[in-house]
């Protein structure tokens, strides 16, 4: 049914290889961008190559490949475009961006986003990214985010001493001043792991209650 509709659409547009056509067009666009960006740079001579010589010729090469693909897409029957999804990529990218702007204070024009350190960025990334899965469950992700972050704090901050911000400044100040940074880290990690575990237990208990009503199979859970 869907294949027929696709075929009909293809006939109307007279594009026999949509994938080739689209990928060729993308290459042409990239090539044009590179040519534009290197436009004001000197090319030099073979004897003394300028900064633009190689990029420009490479861009021409990429463009030629793109052209060949476009022609192939118009002339030769090829694959259809694969279906795209938006939710997955959008949420995953959002998660990555969230980590980037919250790990340490980040200036965005006039606004400065306060740095949350790993303790804030970690769970946020896991939860936002995790929602990209079609079968995501919020409580499960919260539990995972908290425990994973606690583990990462111990591994990267305590054992490996990597230069990664762990807490926001406000939280570091909230500890009694006599505490060493290691003690602060370990106590926070333990608290987070405990919170994660609590969330997990609460989740399983809730689910067990639900399971009793609708009894899903062991593997066929939607």
């Amino acid at each position: 049914m869907r294949a027929e509709a696709d075929a009909a659409r293809r006939r109307r547009l007279r594009v026999v290889g949509p994938q080739s056509l689209a990928s060729g067009a993308a290459l042409l666009a990239l090539s044009a961008l590179a040519l534009f960006l290197t436009g004001d740079l000197p090319q030099g001579t073979l004897r003394a190559m300028g900064p633009a010589m190689l990029p420009r010729w490479l861009a021409v090469g990429v463009g030629l490949c793109g052209l060949a693909l476009v022609v192939a897409g118009l002339v030769r029957a090829g694959h259809a475009l694969e279906p795209w999804s938006l939710r997955g990529p959008a949420l995953v990218v959002l998660a990555v961006l969230t980590f980037a702007v919250t790990i340490r204070p980040f200036g965005l024009g006039p606004v400065t986003i306060p740095g949350l350190g790993l303790i804030g960025a970690g769970p946020l990334t896991v939860v936002i990214g995790g929602l990209a899965a079609p079968d995501a469950r919020l409580r499960e992700l919260v539990a995972l985010g908290l425990t994973l972050t606690a583990g990462c704090m111990v591994l990267f901050g305590d054992l490996l001493n990597l230069p990664i911000p762990l807490f926001p400044q406000a939280l570091a100040d909230a500890f009694p001043s006599g505490w060493s940074s290691d003690a602060r880290l370990r106590v926070t990690a333990a608290l987070m792991a405990a919170a994660g575990l609590a969330a997990h237990l609460a989740g399983t208990r809730g689910r067990r209650a639900a399971d009793r009503t609708d009894v899903p199979g062991p593997a066929g859970r939607p």
Partner: protein
């Protein structure tokens, strides 16, 4: 020969060296630090490599930061361990779940998973470990034996020869890429183009940086690799509704019986030879090893019909070839300073972070590092044998973790890993960007591997091209007038011509479809 033994002795001396280490509670304790690092590397590498959809490139990129704290020798030994671990973990996934961790374990899924379905998963894993161990031992000796002469060869290489060698490597990569040759060429050109982003080495002029300051150093390789192989892979997996069939049958006993060993002895030897030779080739020849070995075994088998239905030769040969190739692909890096594939490019990154410039001078300037790394390969293979066979149960349980919980963890590790390399939030943003780029490439059925290789070799190529042209006063003919360079280019041209012949093309498609 005496030299070789002396060098290996130096290597094992370095690996087994006992250094006093401060342990929090016990104070200073003498520990064989490098052996421990090798062990941890193999263990962690296998742990991450077993996860479906995480190949060696993403594993190494993710784990790169955990090696920062150690001295260069220890760090590289650990990284090498992570590499074999990830490689081996990929085969475990291939056998147990029918998902190849990466390109080189694709053929293992055919007979390995069939064996697992027959309740012989243990034997399949066991023979893979034994074959890999044998291949690893042989490959270690090959590297040790070829290292010195090839390094001497490298010293005669001028810029023109280097350039031609890299062209040959890229042509190899085109021929070995799956799918359309045109698309592979486009990816390689695009990769080189990406490598030219940033300040020009000679004139210092900014190229294609959009005026952004953090781009003036160019794009970081780890960022590109993590985006294309880590994040993009997640995006791709999210599109496919998950159907993982972890074997439900018992794993069975691990040690192959006498009959199994007899059947796999020769395939292991042949696979090792094929893999070791192909692994040395620049342009990721190691990928071809398992395919070639499988084809050979199937052709010479008395009863080819058994293949695909759980023939033990179909696991033993390709797995040996896989490991042999994985190790001999260190040769171009250690002797010529040219990374033949993406994994080796990450090794270059790691070496540079520790202040070591890869190339022929490593062997003379950092002899203990060079030979220590080679000796650690053998130690690493012993570790893999020790780790993998008893821990199979753990890997099986790990494989049952649903993807919806696995990928957020991978994502977090990617973010932390990339941030700790340069402490730049922009790097994290770029892995998101390259992740989307990689997703688009996959949707257009472009292969990201050639792009990465082009990117890796791009800077070196430009440098050598310019140098060669300065020496020859702008005469392009220098590349064909110098005999070695001409020979390399001729090989490249022949390969390309052969790959374009209609009959071979058909055969090539069949190899990859299989």
């Amino acid at each position: 020969m005496g030299d070789l033994l002396a060098n290996l002795a130096l290597g094992f001396g370095t690996v087994l060296q006992i250094v006093p280490v401060e342990v929090p509670v016990l104070g200073m304790v003498p520990l064989p630090m490098n052996v421990l690092l090798c062990f941890v590397g193999c263990l962690v590498g296998t742990l991450i490599g077993v996860l479906p959809g995480v190949g060696p490139v993403a594993t190494i990129a993710m784990l790169l930061p955990i090696t920062f704290r150690f001295d260069p020798t220890g760090a590289l030994i650990m990284l090498a361990g992570i590499y074999y671990g990830a490689q081996y973990g990929g085969s475990t996934t291939a056998i147990l779940v029918n998902i190849p961790g990466e390109a080189t374990s694709v053929v293992t899924t055919l007979d390995g998973h069939a064996m697992a379905r027959q309740g012989r998963a243990g034997v399949a894993l066991g023979i893979a470990a034994i074959g890999s161990f044998f291949a690893g031992c042989v490959a270690t000796v090959v590297i040790a034996a070829l290292g010195a002469p090839l390094t001497r060869l490298a010293l005669v290489f001028g810029p023109a020869e280097y350039f031609s060698l890299m062209v040959m490597g890229l042509v190899f990569a085109v021929v070995l890429a799956r799918g359309s040759i045109l698309k592979a060429v486009a990816m390689i050109l695009l990769g080189i183009l990406l490598s030219t982003v940033g300040a020009d080495l000679e004139t210092g002029r900014e190229r294609m940086t959009f005026g952004l300051q953090f781009l003036s150093d160019g794009i970081d390789f780890a960022v590109l690799a993590m985006g294309l192989f880590g994040v993009a892979e997640i995006l791709r997996n999210l599109d496919h509704s998950e159907s993982r069939d972890v074997v439900r049958q018992a794993i069975g006993r691990l040690l192959p019986g006498r009959e199994d060993l007899r059947q796999s002895a020769l395939p292991i030897v042949r696979g090792t030879a094929i893999g070791a030779i192909l692994g040395i080739l620049p342009g990721n020849g190691a990928v071809l090893g398992p395919f070639a070995s499988y084809t050979v075994e199937k052709r010479i088998a008395r009863d080819p019909g058994r293949f695909g239905r759980g023939a033990i030769e179909g696991v033993a040969g390709p797995e040996s070839a896989n490991n042999a190739g994985a190790q001999t692909s260190f040769i171009p890096l250690l002797t010529l300073g040219i990374p033949p594939n993406a994994v080796m490019a990450l090794m270059v990154g790691a070496m540079t972070i520790h202040g070591i410039v890869p190339g022929p001078q490593v062997m003379t300037k950092n002899a203990s590092l060079f030979w220590g790394m080679i000796a650690s390969m053998w130690v690493g293979n012993v570790m893999l044998l020790v780790i993998n066979l008893p821990l199979v149960g753990v890997w099986v349980r790990l494989l049952k973790v649903p993807y919806r919980l696995m990928f957020p963890a991978i994502l977090l590790f990617c973010c932390i890993g990339i941030y700790s390399i340069n402490s730049l939030p922009t790097d994290i943003m770029f892995i998101g960007l390259f992740g989307v780029v990689g997703y688009v490439l996959i949707k257009f059925s472009f292969e990201p591997a050639p792009l990465l290789l082009g990117f890796v070799l791009g800077k070196l190529m430009e440098e050598n091209l310019r140098r060669a042209l300065i020496i020859s006063r702008g005469e392009m003919s220098t590349f064909v007038e110098r005999p070695v360079s001409a020979g390399l280019l001729l090989v490249a041209a022949c390969l390309l011509a052969v790959a374009l012949l209609p009959t071979i093309r058909k055969g090539r498609d069949e190899v990859f479809v299989e």
